[in-house]
Symmetry: D2
Subunit: 342 residues, 4 copies
Amino acid sequence: MIKLGIIGGTGYTGVELMRLLALHPVARVEVITSRSEAGKPVAELFPNLRGLVDLVFVEPAIDTYRDCDLVFFATPNTTAMSQAEALLAAGIKVIDLAADFRIKDIPTWEQWYGATHACPALVEDAVYGLPEMNRAAIGKARLVANPGCYPTSVILALLPLLANDLIDPASIIADCKSGSSGAGRKASLGTAFGEVTESVKAYAVDGHRHLPEIREVLRSLNADADLVFTPHLMPMVRGIHATVYATASGPADRVQTVYEDYYRDEPFVDVMPAGSHPETRSVRGANVCRIAVHYLPAANRYVVLSVEDNLVKGAAGQAIQNMNLMFGLDETTGLEAPGIMP
Amino acid sequence: MIKLGIIGGTGYTGVELMRLLALHPVARVEVITSRSEAGKPVAELFPNLRGLVDLVFVEPAIDTYRDCDLVFFATPNTTAMSQAEALLAAGIKVIDLAADFRIKDIPTWEQWYGATHACPALVEDAVYGLPEMNRAAIGKARLVANPGCYPTSVILALLPLLANDLIDPASIIADCKSGSSGAGRKASLGTAFGEVTESVKAYAVDGHRHLPEIREVLRSLNADADLVFTPHLMPMVRGIHATVYATASGPADRVQTVYEDYYRDEPFVDVMPAGSHPETRSVRGANVCRIAVHYLPAANRYVVLSVEDNLVKGAAGQAIQNMNLMFGLDETTGLEAPGIMP
Amino acid sequence: MIKLGIIGGTGYTGVELMRLLALHPVARVEVITSRSEAGKPVAELFPNLRGLVDLVFVEPAIDTYRDCDLVFFATPNTTAMSQAEALLAAGIKVIDLAADFRIKDIPTWEQWYGATHACPALVEDAVYGLPEMNRAAIGKARLVANPGCYPTSVILALLPLLANDLIDPASIIADCKSGSSGAGRKASLGTAFGEVTESVKAYAVDGHRHLPEIREVLRSLNADADLVFTPHLMPMVRGIHATVYATASGPADRVQTVYEDYYRDEPFVDVMPAGSHPETRSVRGANVCRIAVHYLPAANRYVVLSVEDNLVKGAAGQAIQNMNLMFGLDETTGLEAPGIMP
Amino acid sequence: MIKLGIIGGTGYTGVELMRLLALHPVARVEVITSRSEAGKPVAELFPNLRGLVDLVFVEPAIDTYRDCDLVFFATPNTTAMSQAEALLAAGIKVIDLAADFRIKDIPTWEQWYGATHACPALVEDAVYGLPEMNRAAIGKARLVANPGCYPTSVILALLPLLANDLIDPASIIADCKSGSSGAGRKASLGTAFGEVTESVKAYAVDGHRHLPEIREVLRSLNADADLVFTPHLMPMVRGIHATVYATASGPADRVQTVYEDYYRDEPFVDVMPAGSHPETRSVRGANVCRIAVHYLPAANRYVVLSVEDNLVKGAAGQAIQNMNLMFGLDETTGLEAPGIMP
C-alpha cells in the first residue's frame, strides 16, 4: 500500500484528492494537514466523505509525513517551494498541485507570482506533470509540477497541431471558460453565488498567470509559439471549456486523423468524431479531456474544442495519474469512473 | 422632490433601493454612505447603475443627512438603533431595513440578536412596515421598521386565515425556501457559488431570528398563534417561496373567496386562481407577493403558497412602498414595473 | 458474471444505471433497448460513457433478453406491467424502476395512474425494494418494485419514528424539494432551463402519485399513518431534500440515539450528528440517504431532514442495491463511491 | 397613443415586449396573437404580467391589426416575409424580430435559412434596425429588420475599430457566449434544465445563421471584413458575452478614446473605463450594450468585451428603440430602467 500525505487539504483540490483516492486499490491517504482546521475530522468539513474517510486534519510538520511515500501539496502558491526540499531529502516524492514548479524560467515565474523563488535549483529537477507529453520522465521523477487547469485543456487541444506543424504557431487564441471552483474554496465576494450565477464575464484579459505557463510549454514544442489567452468565469462550479483558434499553415484535410492517431493510446484524452461539440458536463468528476477539432476552410482556421473537469484532469485526477506513473502502477488505477451526467 | 439618504449602501438592499429609486418620479437619493467604499462612485460597485446614478459613497455622519427628508438604513442589525434618535430629532424620517425596530418585546429582541437595545423607547414608536396590516399607521409614522423577508411572505400568506379565524392558530408550519441574496452581499464561504449551486439545505432549524418576528406579529392577530419556521437555502439568488401549512378549524369551502376579498384592494398582493402554483421568478424584481391557497380535505389542512422577491417586496420595494405612504404619495409610485421572466 | 438488460435506456435512470454499472465487478449490462434510438451507440447519446460502454441500443423484444439474469425497467409507467410476466416466466428476474408494482392496492394504483393494471396478480408477488425495510424479502424476490424517489427520502426519514411509536402518525407533513431530473429526460416546456433556473415552485399540491405510495408503506408500519405531501421543483438537476414534520407523542430526549441505533448497520443511510443540516450536494452521485433529526420543544414537533440523490438512492443506485441482494452479493458492491462535492 | 400589435406573442421575445411596453407612456399593445394559445389571457401564460396586462391571445388575421400603427413580428423565421406586404399596404409599420429581412443578399439568405424568400423586393426596403448604425434611416423606415442577438453584440463591439480602420478586417474572431433564452421558449431536449445546467458547450462551430448577418453588416463598413464566429451555450438564461479578437493594423494607444468618442452620444452603448471586464448580469433586463476594449501589445491584438441582454438590446428592447425612432419619440422612452443586479 502506497502511503500518501496531503498538505493543505481544505480546498477543492484537497477534497477531490480524498474523493478519488477513497477507492484507490493500492494507495491510501495517511496524513492530511490544515493549519486552520487541525483537530477537525475531514468528513466534518466534507460530508460527502462520511463513512469513507476517518482522517482528522493535523497541523503541518515535516515529522508528520515521515512514513509517507508521496506528498501532495494542495496549498496556495509559494508554499510548496519552501518545503519540498526537506521532503525530497527524506526520500518522499512530491507532487505540487500549485504553481511553484511549473515554470522553468525563474525570472518569468518571479514576475508573474510576485515572489522570489525559494528553491530555483529544484525547479530544474521538477517534471511538468502532463503525462501526454512527459510520461517517461514522470515515471522517473521525484518531484512533479502538476499542470494548471487552463494549461491542461489548452495544451492538450494544441499538441497534435504543433507536433505535426500544422499551424502558424504565433496565431493561437485560447478563449477559455471556467467554472468557479477554479478560484478555490474560500470566502470571497467575487465568487459569491449572488455575484456568479446567471452571469458571464472575462477576467485578467491583460494577463493571467497561466499564460506564461502555457507559452513555455508550447515553446518547448515550437520556439515561435505564442498565444492570446482569455479566461472567463462561468455560472457553474466545475468544468473548463477551451475554444482554441489557430491559422492553418498547410492542408487541413487529415486533421481528424492526426488527432485520432496522436491520442490513440492515451487513456484520458478522448478525440470525438468529426463535427462534435463536447460538453463540460460529459467529464464532470472524470479524469478525461474530451477534444473535437474543426477546420473552417473560409477562414483557414482550426477551432479546437477541449473540455475537462478542472478539479480532476485539471488538478486532482491528473495528480493521481502522475502518482500512478511515479509508482509504476497502471496509469488508470483508481481513475476509471465515468463522468456524472446529468 | 423628496430627498433621500441611504446609510450603508453597499449591500444587496442598498443597490436594490438605488435601482428602484433611479426612476422614482418624486424622490431622489441625495446621499449614500459606506465606511468601506467612501470616495468610490456607486456605479463602479454596481455597474448596472452606470449612466443613471452619479452619486459617490461618502463616510456616514449625521451632518451628511441634514437636507434629507428620509433616511433608509440598509445596514447590518444594531446600527440603526444607535443613530435613529438623532435623525428623528433632526426632523428626518427613518426606515430601517434591518431588524432593530421590528420586535416590540425588548427582552425577546435582546435574546435573539445578542445585544442590548440602544433605544427601547423608540421601539414603541416604530411602526411595523407591512402596509397590508398597518397602512394608516405607516402614513403617520416617522420611524418604520421594514419587515424581514421571510416574515413578509409568511404573514401575508396567513393574514386572511387568521383574520377570519379559519385555522387552529397553533398548528402553523412555515417551510420557507430562499435565494442566497437573503444572506447579503459579502465574502463568506457558506454563500460561495461552489457551496450553493446545485444543492439545497435547511439551516437554523432550531431557531432563526425571523421566528420571533413572525410570532409576535401573528400574536397581535391571535394570541394563541404559534409556528414552526424552517428556512432553506436554494441554489438561486432572488426569491422566497413560503409553503405554509395550518389545520382548518371550520368549513373551508369559501377560502378562495376569503383570500380574494381580503386582498382585493391591495396593489401588491396578488391572489392567484384556485389551484395555482406561483413561481418565484414571476415576481423577480417586482414589488409583489403572489399567493395561492389550497385546502386538502383528507388532511383538513390549508397549504398556502406565497412567493416574493426577497430584495423587493421582502426589502427595498416594501421600504419604498412605506416611504410613499409616509409622504402621502400614491403607494405604487415607482413600483409599477412587472417582474422579469424568464 | 451477472448478465443484465435495461429496457428503456435513454432516460436519466437509464444512463445512471449504465454509469454505476460500468465499474461493477460482477455484473455487466449486455442489452439495452430503446425504440427511438435503436441502432445508435449508447455513448453517442451519453458521451460520459465514451470508452467505457460499447453497447448499441436495440429494439425491445423478449428474445433480446434471453441470456439476461435480470432486467431493469427504466421505462415510463405502465410499460413493465405488460412485459414482466413473460420475463419472469423465462426465469429472468425483474426490477421495475417505474411505478407499476409499487402499490399493493390495485384500485388505488388504477385511480392515481389512470390505467387498468395489466397483471394485478404479480403485484402481490412484487417486493417493495427498500432494503432498509425489506432486505430479506428482496433477497428472495424475483420481482422488485423499486421505490419512488420522493418515497425513499420520506420513508427513510420516518422509519425510526414510526417503528418506535414516537409520533402522532396522522400529523405528518412532508415538504419535499427536488431537482429537475426527477421529471425525466425529455423535451418539455416545464423543465426547460429558462423555466426552471432561478425559480422555485410547488406543484401537484392537491395530489401527487407518490402520496399513495408513501401512505401505503407508512400504513404497513402504523395503520393510522397519514401525511400531507408537497413536492417542489428546485433550480438544480439532482437531489431531493425532504423536510418532514411530525408531532411527538411522548418524550423526545432520546431521538438522536433512536435514529443512530435504527440505522447503525445500514450501509447507505447516514444519521448525522445532532443539530446537523444535510446538503443534497453531499450525496450527489452517491447511493446514500443522509438524515438529521431535530426536535423543537416549544412546538413539540420533530423536523427530520433527509437528502438523497434522486437518481441514485432514489432510483438507479437503489436498484443496483436491490440487484446485489437478489444475487446474494455484498449489498454495497459497486456502490461505494462517495458523492461529488462541490 | 401609438397602437401596437404583436404577432406570435408566446415566446420569450413576446413576453419581453409586453414587459417593457407595460409601462411605455405613449405606446400600448392592443393586439397579441397566437395560434396555439388563442383565447387564453396573456397573464395566464406569463404571470409576471398579472395585474398589468389584460389582453387575451387572439388568432392571427390581417383584420385584427387594422387599427394598429405598428406590428411586431415575434414569430419564427419565414413567418413575417409572407405577411409583411399586406400590413405595409394597409399603412401599418412593421418590425420583424426574426431574420426574414436582415440579410440583403437573397441567395445568401435562402442558403442559410433553407427557404425561398417570399418577398425579395421588400428586403431592399427594409432597414437593418441597429440605431447606432442606421438611426436616420430607421426614423424614416416603414419596415425594420431587428438585428439578431449575437450580431448586435458583435457589431457594436467592432464598429469603432472598423470605422476608424484600426484592424486587419479579415482577422476577426468572435467567441460568443449566450444564455439559453436565445433558443426560444419551447419544449426541446437540448435546452432542458438537466442538459444545460452546470455545463458549457460550443455549437454550430461550422456555421451559424448569424454569421452571414454579421459578415454582411461588417462588409458594408469594410469590403474585406470577415470573421470566425463561435457561439457557445451557457448555463444561464439571459445574456450574451461577446469576446471579439482582431489584429491591430496601426498604433493602438488611442483606442480607449476612439471608443468613448464613437459612442459618446449613444444612450444605449456604454463604454467602460480602460481595463474593465463587463458582466452580463449588469445589463440583465436593460437595453444596454456595455463594452470594454483591451489591447495586447505582445500579440498586437485587440480584445473587445461586449455584453448585452439578448432579450432586450438583443431583441425586444432594441425593437422598442426602433419603434421610438420610427414615431419620432425620444429614443429612450420606456427603456430607461437599469439592469437587475444581482
